[in-house]
Amino acid sequence: MYVLSAIVSLTLLGLFLGLLLGIAGKYLKVESSPIVDELEALLPGSQCGQCGFPGCRPAAEALSEGNAPATMCPPGGSALAEQIAALLGLDLDLSDVKEPELLVARVSEDTCTGCTRCFKVCPTDAIVGAPKQIHAVVADACIACKKCVDVCPTECLQMHPVEVTLRNWRWAKPHHVPAQSLGTGSNAVC
């Protein structure tokens, strides 16, 4: 008797849950894969196209389908590649990934005419100025998208490598170091 009631109740439960899943599958269907949204949120979002895809969304789609490697985004560097690999559960060898060179836009004050074209295109409002006044770049907000360089009529806006100061100086990665080269003091033990 107990066996029979158990079989009946479990069968009914199974049928009910199956029905529920069937309905949910029909009405709560997700149009695009949620992983694409997560990937897109990780990507820089500047639509630069350096990966060969027409923007960050198509790149995220390619990543989710496995048509692009985790190391595909040059501006993101290895930090982004590591995040993508963690999200997609990929194994990653980063020894060949080049770190992007950091650039920042700078206004040459001799040739700036104060035309205001550059700060109209700046996506992060990193350029300040007024008509017929020399403009200036807020270096901390500049994302090196180079849009201002394209519109500047006098070529006074140029990209420069970020200056190394004591604040952003870092130790270089050690490789096979000859005895003479500059290392840390800890090489020098007795």
């Binding site: 979002g45 992060t124 004591l166 270089a172 500059l182 840390t184």
Partner: protein
């Protein structure tokens, strides 16, 4: 037998050849000739740089305030001698990169004329807060090399009701013996400084820990501390890195500082003997921190010694005084050979952190021909932080920094024991220094990308708002025009 079951009180560490005999027997030289020019960096401490309040051309006296501290964690800078300010500008910093940092250049007049100082009759009558204020105003920072502002540490000790003050006299780095000499020659002043610090922190109990390779210093300090029950002088085993605060706290008190906590949270604060001496001078004589004892040693130094030099003295002048052979010098190191920084040249000033300047010959440097790892696990057994250096280095080699962080990269103290012991000469600590910097850089990049998204959203919202406004104005204009035409048509109809 029971001790067999106790947890060991020292973890890891190495015992390198000490190289201290050449200098430890000589008294501290106080006859260093006053340099013509002093290059005084505005940042010689952890925290925010000091802000200058003098102008080029000003005449200043010895001990006069040159730059005041700004922010909670900062320290002021004083004139190490009397003279004229000739420049405030960027000059190469005493740092492995020798990148520029803001410095005050003082041309000394040779008179060494003191500014008038205020003296306190009995400092033990002062409020503990006043002791901290005096110490902060004197620009005193941790002289063991960490250069954390001492006044901040005293305040933290008072607020956390610290019961034990440990005075670090271990000086575990090879070559260095400036603290050893200081303890031998000025023990009473140091003990006085320790008692003042105890008063400033409202603590009862101080322990001076001295490595057992400095018996003279131990005897002198014990004799000086004898009249005071609150100060206890003990000997500790000689083993690098005994001077690391967590190792020392573990040995002296048996307590372990948890990861991510400060030592004051478990009721212990640690200060260097040099700091205690500076506190004594600041409070008893009103003298700010203007000079320190520096060990000049290494194979290329003809007259190795401990010498008292004013801050801002160029290393090259110090080398001249100690007769350093320039040709033989293969590497200049500021600090000790294990944790110090190698400097590209000698035209850099000595600062508050300069405990020693070493001029090492080629034969004193470690062979850096890297061989494959033989998995001997020596690095694991010597790591005082209990990490697995070889695994971390392998992850960093292939740029998997997250994996290295998971293995405890952030707990690495860059003591260099792993690189020292490695039979295959693998640059382990160099990998960790690189990776720590890179982790910070990545955090900053992450922060910047979040900021970029915020800025882009703000801009898009503004553009949308402007477009909306324009659309509304356009509609209003069209409506107004229609209204005008309607009125006009009505008037025409009336006519």
């Amino acid at each position: 037998m029971l001790s067999f079951f106790k947890t060991p009180r020292i973890r890891g560490g190495v015992h390198a050849k000490e190289h201290k005999t050449a200098t430890a027997a000589l008294p501290i030289a106080t006859n260093f000739p006053l340099p013509k020019k002093l290059y005084i960096p505005l940042q010689q401490h952890v925290g925010k740089p000091a802000e200058p309040l003098i102008m080029v051309g000003d005449k200043v006296l010895k001990g006069q305030l040159l730059a005041y501290s700004q922010g909670l964690i900062s320290a002021p800078v004083h004139a190490p001698s009397s003279g004229i300010i000739v420049d405030v500008n960027d000059y190469p910093a005493p740092h492995p990169s020798a990148l520029p940092i803001r410095m005050i250049v003082l041309e000394t007049d040779g008179k060494d004329e003191w500014i008038k100082t205020q003296l306190v009759d009995d400092p033990f009558q002062l409020n503990p807060e006043e002791i901290s204020l005096c110490v902060g105003a004197a620009g005193i920072v941790g002289l063991g090399g960490a250069t954390f502002p001492t006044a901040v540490k005293l305040n933290m000790g008072r607020e956390n009701h610290v019961d034990t003050l440990i005075i670090n006299g271990s000086e575990c780095e090879p070559y260095l013996c400036c603290d050893d000499r200081l303890m031998q020659e000025r023990a009473e002043q140091i003990i006085d400084g320790v008692r003042l610090m105890l008063h400033g922190m409202e603590s009862e109990h101080a322990v001076v820990a001295i490595e057992d390779n400095k018996p003279q210093a131990f005897l002198a300090m014990r004799a000086a501390a004898d009249p005071y029950a609150s100060v206890n002088v003990i000997q500790i085993p000689t083993r690098y890195p005994m001077g690391w605060d967590r190792q020392l706290i573990r040995y002296v008190t048996g307590k372990e500082v948890p990861v991510g906590c400060r030592s004051s949270e478990i009721g212990v604060t640690i200060h260097n003997v040099g700091t205690a001496y500076a506190v004594h001078k600041a409070i008893r004589y009103g003298q700010p921190l203007l000079n320190r004892v520096v060990t000049v040693a290494g194979g290329a130094v003809k007259r190795p010694m401990n010498v008292e030099v004013p801050f801002g003295t160029l290393i090259s002048e110090l080398f001249e005084f100690c007769e350093v052979n320039q040709q033989e010098t293969a590497r200049i190191i500021m600090g000790g050979p294990m944790m110090g920084d190698s400097l590209p040249h000698g035209a850099l000033p000595t600062v508050k952190a300069t405990s020693g300047i070493l001029a090492l010959t080629q034969s004193e440097l470690k062979n850096t021909d890297e061989q494959p790892c033989i998995r001997c696990a020596s690095c694991v057994s010597v790591c005082p932080a209990g990490l697995r250096p070889l695994d971390m280095a392998n992850n960093i080699r292939i740029n998997q920094l997250d994996a290295a962080v998971d293995l405890g990269l952030k707990d690495c103290i860059s003591c260099g024991c792993c690189s020292y012991i490695c039979p295959s000469n693998i640059p382990l600590v160099q990998f960790f220094k690189y990776a720590s910097g890179e982790v910070v850089a990545r955090q900053q990049a992450q922060h910047k990308s979040e900021q970029t998204k915020r800025l882009m959203d703000a801009r898009n919202a503004r553009m949308e708002r402007i477009a909306q406004q324009q659309r509304e104005e356009e509609l209003a204009r069209i409506a107004a025009k229609a209204e005008r035409e309607r009125l006009k048509a009505e008037q025409e109809a009336l006519v």
